[in-house]
Amino acid sequence: MLKKRKLGRGVAVVGAGMSRFGMFKDMDSKDLFVEAFREMLLSVDKGVDPNEIEALYLGNFSNDFFMHQAHWAPIISDLIGVTPKPATRTEGACASSALSFREGVFAIASGFYDMVLVGGVEEMSKCSTAEVAEGLALATVPYEGKVGFTFPGVFGVIGTSYFAKYGASREHLMNVTIKSHNNAPLNPKAQIPYSVRDLMNAKIERIKQKGRPLPQWKDEKDFLRDPSANPVVAWPMNLYDCCPISDGASCMLLVAEDIAKNFTDKPLYVAGIGQGSGRGFHAAKSLTSFEATINAAEEAYGMSGLKPEDIQFAEVHDCFSIAEIIHTEDLGFFKPGEGYKAVEEGLTRLDGPKPINTSGGLKSKGHPVGATGTSQLFEVWKQLRNEAGKRQVPNKNLRFGAAHNLGGTGGTCTFTILERR
């Protein structure tokens, strides 16, 4: 059933940049995008004249809601010197910048432009937690939002459904959290660059200083089991199953394949690109799978001629711990119902056969929603070019890496495969 899709002409990535992710009092999202853009310029090995950029595609979920300022693309375009060339916002909730990447690819593949900048930006930390929850809930399906579903609640439902179907439990979700947090200290841009053990020990230290009775946590899982340390947000999603509130920005420079070597000897090529749409629980085909991901994967695998086993590592959209498990199944890395076992067996660790979320994932790298898609591709860029430092995947022959981005409650999903030749 795979349709063999292809681009009108090849598209390459020749530069990438990412701001630090975190909660910044002294910087807004414009400043963070400029930070990402400056890093992108420095990343182009043979240099680039920014005047050659012909258009900007900017992913942004909801600066309108979070900061009461809409129409961010032309404002950011001016700050990076792209004005008066076109600046277009793409919106696909938490997949907004995967969509900007996709639009940029199509713009070049069509032959209309030779060089475009794609990226994303979001600023959330200046809102209260309740405001952020309300803003994100704007991207749920109306029937869900109306009866009181929150974002964590939607993934809570997926969790109880998965548990009942496959016999998994919260203990298995903890493996995802612990694994992602083990990668984060190796990523200098991560919002929470600490392992769960580090966080547990820090908490014990604080309790000691206050002179309160010391908790008897035997290990990380014991810590995560304790509701005083890891309270329920939307059962079975507890605090450590949920990604944090973040600010951040990321961007990539795309060019036509035939000019890529003018900019670097190590370009990455777009091998496969896919997108899909999904629907609410009332109409979804399954409560333990995302139709949109499956469609995106079919498009990307169909275009690239690759199979799931060819993807050597991937960033997947772990907004919640259960989500990572579901995505690794939907993308074909593991069979349905086996994703949680794969994590338990260590297959998705940095040194495992299928490293997942080497960046620390949304959980510990942070999730400034509109910036996430291209930040995932930034990680793929770093890994494939052997520039990921301490978190470099040990496999020395990396050729194919991929990023999966999810928007809303699965309404928009993308899957993008990059190749080093």
């Binding site: 009181g148 964590p152 969790g159 059962w235 629980f281």
Partner: protein, 138 residues
């Protein structure tokens, strides 16, 4: 049955009247809850209203500690969790709903697959009346 648009607005009006309604395609027979105006299987727009019996089983659920403002206004918070879920109706379709009559402090006691029956939670009056679709253990 009377003429009403096959819309979310009609669906909610029916909820106000203690009726859980779906739409069925007259051409191919597929049933939808909430109602659709266009059949996405055969693309016919000849639909008819069907009232659901209101019985089903719990497909999945969650107990929420940090809710949206309108749930906080109802008194729910970190110490008073509320349950929402997905119910598969006996007629074979699904709906999203509040789940009442369960112990949200002991989510392990709430069982996927348990039989549930419909309840209509009315809030406000007159023009302001709105109704939450809810289910409770049968």
């Amino acid at each position: 049955m009377e003429e009403r648009n096959f819309s979310d607005i009609s669906y909610e009006q029916y909820l106000n009247e203690n009726k859980l309604m779906g739409s069925r395609c007259k051409k191919c027979g597929v049933l939808y809850t909430p109602p659709r105006a266009l059949c996405i299987k055969c693309y016919s727009s000849e639909m008819e209203w069907v009232e659901m019996k209101g019985d089903g089983k719990l497909s999945a659920f969650t107990c929420i500690a940090v809710g949206p403002p309108f749930m906080i206004d109802e008194g729910y918070d970190r110490n008073h969790l509320y349950c929402v879920g997905v119910v598969e109706l006996d007629e074979g379709t699904r709906v999203d709903a509040r789940i009442e009559g369960v112990d949200t402090n002991k989510p392990d006691t709430i069982k996927v697959g348990m039989p549930v029956s419909v309840e209509f939670l009315h809030r406000g009056e007159g023009e302001e009346l709105m109704t939450y679709l809810a289910f409770k253990p049968a």
